[in-house]
Assembly symmetry: C2
Homo-oligomer: 519 residues x 2
């Protein structure tokens, strides 16, 4: 085995010797990229542990370990051997895995080479310290405990943005999660959605009537909730020999460089059945994507989901289009009643409960119709933070003002408001819009799947999901990062990304649920 | 902060600029060593996860990640900058922390520079694959599932030994765990112990009479066992805000480069109370040592216990001298009866039960008197394996023959014999003798502590351990790796390591328990 080109003992002359042998350069490049991938994967294991089992005393040491791993990966990516190998590897047949690998490696290198190792390590360290501070701040609903960390993380991320390309300072943040996304393009998307959703919410609100969610409230044993959730996602096809489920303050899905170990975490509310169940389905949707990527892409830049928008399309598809649908509950509702004897009422009442519209404080617990307004709010605040139009100190007030404007409510406290999400603590500015991109794409993909394989619906009524998962595996999952997101969607659905099917779906589903118009 | 000197972007000229400034060289050296320490710590987190929570599908990817981390740490240790910095850092005041740091860093560098990065990565990868294979082999008691891995790991470790110093090929293995140990010195120690223990076992065996362990057998709820164990080690002083306890096939203690996060694992037997309890006390003994090291040593070569012999002295001290003693049980036995209503009999009967001598198959469950014979057997087999006098294929037979010779029994199957320990799977050849070194040192240290602070015994009768832990912290724990093991023991006890106190202790304790002679 060759180990040259992967560390400080690199013999630079070796790279030069093989100038005329692009295949050797590609092989050396792949080994270097595998090392970088392993460092990222190790960091992911450390991050998983930090958010699940690490004791309090580990915080400072863990931050140092993560900073070191981030710095070493970055140094290896930007070291002089990398561009040399990238150049000597030449061009590959368009459409081949190797052409895609080179395209992605060149993009990663271009991006990383703009950022000093110091900044990369500082961001890693600052977020590793901010995340536990955010947990404490949220527990005690005390913004002041988190504000200094937010200042620090934001300053570092703004420094990062200033070093990267983009017409708008926020573009570099978006591009990290959704290659090709831009502030301008997202403004267009949100504007179209706002025009469709806001009147719909108004129409629905006029017909809200009594609270439909009573069925979901009560006392629900957590172990039973967990077992029911496990049954559901097992039937989806989540492979437990290649994953596991743990508890975390903020549910997440994580992989370690390949489909062999893809874990999810969940949070349960003993008084509200929907929280744990839909979080489980959501994270399982992410995990099914990662478990379905071509194993030969492991430890390469092709591994993993192509963008956060496409990733969220998978999580939201299983959470909403599957687990909030009539065919799903026609099978699972009798089972749910078997698990929780206190749940009563017919399946249609339960279907209405899990689809009840009610403007509320917490994004992750929002109904489908108001969900995107939560995202819109975050998108606008992040743009303001990066445009320098908003100070961190003014965030809680700005948050509450937008909640009032879009959803008509003001959070009772900051834990239910500006402190609810983990994203800013871990430096994930630019991530939130992916949720709405994901909603849009989830409907486009799901409709294409059902059109091609209509048996998906009757299968779902039998608690079977093999055809749906198979279609997603074939058209989305297995490709990993090979195609650009827009390209992947067009290959899968025959059309570029489009908000129209999503708006039609919302109008149809909630129009019927709230009898705004005849079906 | 300075990041030079720690990775592939190192500017070698920077090192040269500071030739005449030893303090800068020392600072750069410390940063480089901190990076190496962080890589080892990250690898430890990955190893902990592999042995506690990792799903089966993660095996191959995890092996690659661990190999990468091991290779990078090794490359950084042996890269040309390291000896340059070591040289420029000059000499420091004898007895200072910095002098010790340089001594240890030079030793580590000398050792590592003999080993090619390829071999280091291969050992890491081979052991990461062998460990899960060992678990399967043990579960099905099928040596053939493990034998090829044992062949591979042994071949790599023998290659390692051939590249390192030592009069005997096994010396390099010993030196890794107990600096200063040698095959010759250990032969002397085991010879003295054999001469004392074998006749004692013979005398005791003649008086064995009825089985004294009936009290420990029954049905014991695992959660209750765990809770009782937690109470015991909390009273020892184990700090849960800087650690946690999980389940593992083979109990272990692990740290991540400092005293802030020191975890233990335990295995419970629902039918035998002693297994989980003494494993918990044993691992807590290790953890108390690591939690007690001077925090300023974190991320440096001074961090952590000085040798496995001294480490085992701490685990065996808490397991045997404390948790198998009369004063301990005079406090905890009423509590144990409160937790398990099925446990009956007086405290003296219980004391006899936890100290019952009975030659048996499993080392970790052996009584104090026969324990060292298990270690002797492993020591002799390992010496033979490294001397080329024993083939892996012949190991099960050789194991059983020595069991028959030293303990008078032949294991019912390989799971209870040659497959019982994890050590060979993870490449820990040379570790086993540390258990007996630890037994010897545990008595020497404990007697010194009680001589200096006689209140330790009455405190123990009240379930208090502060004075004992305080003495160990002051005389052993806080020093980390600052002193050589022999030096540390002489500073703590006023005498060099000596087998005599240990033999006197065994003769006195088991002489009284089995009325071989008057007290």
């Amino acid at each position: 085995m060759l180990y040259a080109g992967t560390g400080p003992t690199t013999d630079a002359s070796m790279v030069r010797v093989i100038t005329d042998r692009p295949d050797d350069s590609l092989q050396l490049l792949k080994e270097r990229l595998a090392t970088i991938s392993d460092l990222y994967s190790a960091a992911s294991v450390l991050a998983w542990d930090r958010q699940t089992y690490m004791p309090e005393g580990g915080v400072v040491g863990r931050a140092e370990q993560l900073a070191t791993l981030a710095r070493l990966a970055h140094e290896m990516l930007v070291s002089p051997e990398t561009p040399e190998l990238l150049e000597h590897a030449g061009e590959r047949e368009p459409g081949s895995d190797e052409a895609a690998l080179l395209r992605l490696a060149r993009r990663e290198h271009r991006r990383a080479s703009r950022l000093p190792a110091r900044l990369v390590a500082e961001i890693s360290r600052a977020t590793a310290l901010a995340e536990p501070a955010w947990i404490h701040a949220r527990e005690s609903s005390d913004w002041s405990l988190f504000a200094p960390h937010m200042e620090r993380v934001l300053a570092l991320k703004r420094e990062e943005a200033s070093l990267l390309d983009g017409e708008h300072p926020y573009d570099a943040m978006l591009d990290r999660y959704d290659p090709g996304a831009s502030t301008q393009r997202l403004r267009g998307m949100f504007s179209a959605l706002k025009a469709g959703i806001v009147p719909l919410v108004r129409d629905v609100s006029a017909r809200l009537g009594e609270d439909r969610t009573a069925l979901l409230r009560g006392a629900f044993d957590e172990a039973t909730q967990e077992a029911f959730g496990r049954d559901v996602i097992s039937s989806f096809g989540y492979d437990w020999s290649r994953g596991r489920q743990d508890r975390a303050v903020h549910p997440f899905c994580i992989d370690f460089g390949g489909p062999g170990d893809v874990r999810i975490t969940t949070r349960f509310d003993p008084g509200l059945l929907s929280v744990g169940l839909f979080a489980t389905c959501h994270e399982a949707g992410h995990a099914l994507y990662e478990q379905g990527v071509d194993p030969s892409y492991s430890h390469t830049p092709l591994a993993g989901g192509v963008s956060m928008g496409v990733h969220e399309s998978q999580s939201r598809l299983w959470e909403n289009l599957v687990a909030r649908s009539r065919p799903f509950w026609s099978y699972f509702y009798p089972r749910l009643r078997g698990a929780f004897s206190s749940v009563s009422g017919d399946v249609e009442t339960f279907y209405k409960a899990v689809n009840a519209v009610k403007p509320s404080e917490i994004r992750t617990e929002a109904d489908e119709l108001t969900y995107d307004l939560h995202v819109l709010l975050r998108f606008e605040l992040e743009v303001d933070l990066f445009e320098d139009g908003l100070a961190v100190a003014d965030l809680p007030e700005a948050w509450n003002a937008k909640m009032k404007e879009y959803l008509g409510i003001v959070p009772k406290n900051d834990a239910l408001g500006v402190l609810q999400d983990t994203h800013w603590a871990i430096g994930y500015f630019g991530y939130f819009p992916s949720y709405t991109v994901g909603n849009v794409l989830s409907v486009q993909l799901y409709e294409a799947a059902v059109e091609e394989r209509p048996e998906i619906l009757p299968e779902m009524e039998r608690g079977e999901f093999g055809t749906l998962l198979g279609w997603l595996r074939e058209n989305v999952h297995r490709h990993g990062k090979k195609y650009e997101p827009d390209d992947l969607i067009e290959r899968a659905t025959g059309r570029p990304p489009d908000t129209a099917p999503y708006l039609r779906y919302l109008e149809s589903k909630f129009g019927e649920l709230y009898t705004i118009r005849d079906k």
